[in-house]
């Protein structure tokens, strides 16, 4: 559980630079990358919660309490109540005082440096309404994993107060583009703690996490055409999975983690195939005289949603995962793309062109009506958080590509603030790492 979570940077074609120079360039991660809030509507009920500064947290590389507060607030389900004063997990909590400040729950804790260099993060969660201790926890973490340790505190609080799993300790992959350089990043779900998995002079698109969160599939143009790769995030080892004649793209992991659906043009038009995660002979799933691309699995693996222009413009269809007859899913508007299915299989998010605007939408499955989640006009590539409560997506209406998160009702959004580079193609990783 407490393994270090390093990702290994890979540099493509750095021949004219010294190795040290290339590493220095790769280390130029967007400095202060962090999701900031843009609350665009009032959420439903928000639980008022106080998170006191953890005792001695200033001795650790990060402020645990600040990370926890920001996590809880971004989820949209909590309102943060001020918590002045010094407390830790041993403090006798004066319930009435805290209730007087309007808090329903209180987290207190401490950070202690251990002899082996790790930090012991301890905390307690109090239910102030019922006047009882909900839980006490202790978790030792390497200095490099302190952000992860803080996010795990957030996850524990979230789960205890909402009954659902938190996603704060999950990760997000995305691509940045600066002039002449594309980078595949892996960051914490709050946009911080970024590390680079791949640096290339050529475009990278469509990253997709394996169900176990250990591998990333993506499309790289490093060989001057689109090829699907799978890369182990921890070791940096990578291999070509689909490198056929024409274009190889749109990787989507089967929930079994052993195969991927991909879009290949090896027989002419782009069609959907299944291929083993180690490559090999692809099996054709669609057989249409049109474009079929952007496969997305239903979480139980029974069906594949995909985009096809068989009816004229691009629309979303679904078919059995083994192939077979397809059924149209989107009917409103002439351009509906990029389907992604919530982890419970009950909701589809996608992008729809409305007038000249490309807008993030949601649609209950199997046959509900589409609802806009955003009112902006340059939305792209949505990806569900593993608990299905949030989506991450790209917005490029401001002349630059930025990453956004939103609650699935669209009420609370946050923007990943960065310095400079375009950020795009986000993929939210699974639980666990």
């Amino acid at each position: 559980m407490n393994r270090p979570s390093h990702t290994c940077p890979i540099l493509l074609n750095p021949p004219r630079r010294s190795f040290v120079g290339a590493l220095a360039a790769a280390a130029a991660v967007p400095a202060a990358a962090q999701f900031r809030f843009e609350i665009t509507g009032i959420g439903g009920t928000q639980i008022p919660v106080a998170v006191a500064a953890f005792r001695d947290e200033e001795k650790a590389p990060v402020s645990v309490a600040s990370i926890v507060r920001a996590d809880l607030q971004r989820s949209g389900l909590f309102r943060i109540v001020d918590a002045p004063g010094s407390y830790d997990e041993t403090t006798r909590v004066a319930m009435a005082d805290w209730r007087g400040r309007g808090a329903d729950a209180l987290a207190v804790g401490s950070v202690t440096r251990l002899a082996d260099g790790r930090f012991d993060v301890r905390f307690k969660l109090w239910d102030l309404v019922r006047g009882e201790e909900l839980l006490g926890k202790s978790n030792a973490a390497l200095p490099a994993d302190m952000r992860l340790a803080a996010h795990r505190v957030s996850d524990t609080i979230y789960q205890n107060l909402t009954g659902e799993r938190g996603v704060f300790s999950t990760r997000i992959a995305f691509v940045t583009r600066a002039p002449g350089r594309y980078q595949l990043h892996v960051t914490d779900a709050d946009g911080e703690g970024g590390q680079i998995a791949l640096t290339s002079p050529d475009p990278i698109i469509s990253p997709a996490w394996s169900p176990d969160g250990k591998d990333l599939a993506y499309v790289s143009f490093e060989s001057q055409k689109a090829v699907v790769w799978v890369q182990n995030v921890g070791s940096g080892q990578r291999r070509m999975v689909a490198n056929f004649r024409g274009t190889n793209s749109a990787p989507a992991w089967h929930p079994n983690g052993r195969e991927l659906a991909v879009a290949l043009s090896r027989e002419g038009l782009t069609q959907i195939y299944m291929i083993a995660r180690d490559g090999g002979a692809p099996r054709r799933l669609t057989n249409s005289p049109s474009i079929d691309t952007e496969p997305a699995f239903a979480p139980d693996g029974s069906q594949i949603y995909f985009v096809s222009d068989r009816g004229g413009g691009p629309q979303i269809y679904r078919m059995p995962a083994a192939g077979g007859s397809a059924e149209r899913v989107t009917f409103s508007g002439g351009y509906n793309i990029s389907p992604t299915i919530s982890p419970d299989g009950k909701l589809m998010a996608f992008v729809s062109r409305q007038g000249g605007a490309y807008r993030l939408m949601s649609q209950p499955l199997p046959n509900g009506a589409p609802t806009p989640i955003s009112d902006s006009d340059g939305d792209e590539s949505p990806s569900f958080a593993p608990n299905g409560r949030l989506l991450v997506y790209t917005n490029r209406s401001q002349g630059r590509d930025v990453l956004m998160t939103t609650t699935i009702d669209g009420r609370i959004k946050s923007r990943l603030l960065t310095t400079g580079a375009d950020m795009r193609e986000p993929a939210w990783g699974p639980f666990g790492r």
Binding site: I205, K225, A226, G246, T247, L269, T270, E294, S338, V351
Partner: protein
């Protein structure tokens, strides 16, 4: 042996059917040429200007204009053109690109070991993956056109960069039109 002339004219007929608006296209008409490259215009102009036949006129003077590269050689001029532009949301190879395709087909037919990449591109509107497939469809349309002109399919590979390699990053329609293209590249 492949009879180039018969083969080519047959292929041109088939090709004409493939083109958009082919019903209104007469094969004996001069194909409209793209205005951005003056070389082709110079080439066809030289043919009609004067010394076409032997002995029809003794006072005809053919003009050679060195300001226009490839003057007097329509084929070389067409060969120099390597980009085919597309209308919005369209995969149709317009008739005006017939000279370009014929010139490249001729070179590929003359040398069967010659290989070409056909790179499809789109403008930035819409999704990256869908645009990748759109660019591929454009590149495949050009590939089919060349195959109909006698080129072996094994000499060609159609690939796509979708919206990832725009010529222009501006978002006005003129810039977008330049991005909707297939580039013919020697391999």
């Amino acid at each position: 042996m492949f009879n180039y002339r018969t083969g080519l004219s047959a292929a041109v007929c088939t090709l004409a059917l493939l083109f958009a608006g082919c019903s209104s296209t007469k094969l004996d008409e001069e194909a409209p040429v793209e205005s951005r490259n003056p070389a082709t215009a110079a080439g066809t102009g030289a043919g009609t200007g004067g010394a076409t036949g032997s002995g029809t006129s003794q006072s005809g003077v053919a003009t050679v204009d060195l300001n226009k590269s490839g003057a007097g050689d329509a084929n070389a001029a067409a060969m120099a053109q390597r980009t085919i532009y597309f209308d919005f949301d369209s995969f149709i190879v317009k008739d005006e690109y017939r000279p370009l395709l014929e010139a490249h087909a001729k070179a590929l037919n003359a040398n069967r070991s010659k290989r070409m990449m056909l790179e499809g591109h789109t403008d930035e509107l819409g999704g990256r993956e869908y645009n990748l497939a759109l660019g591929q469809k454009r590149a495949e349309a050009v590939l089919k056109s060349l195959v109909l002109l006698g080129v072996m399919e094994t000499q060609l590979e159609a690939v796509s960069f979708g919206e990832e390699r725009p010529v222009s990053s501006a978002t006005d329609e003129a810039s977008r039109a330049k991005n909707r293209r297939v580039e013919l590249k020697d391999k």
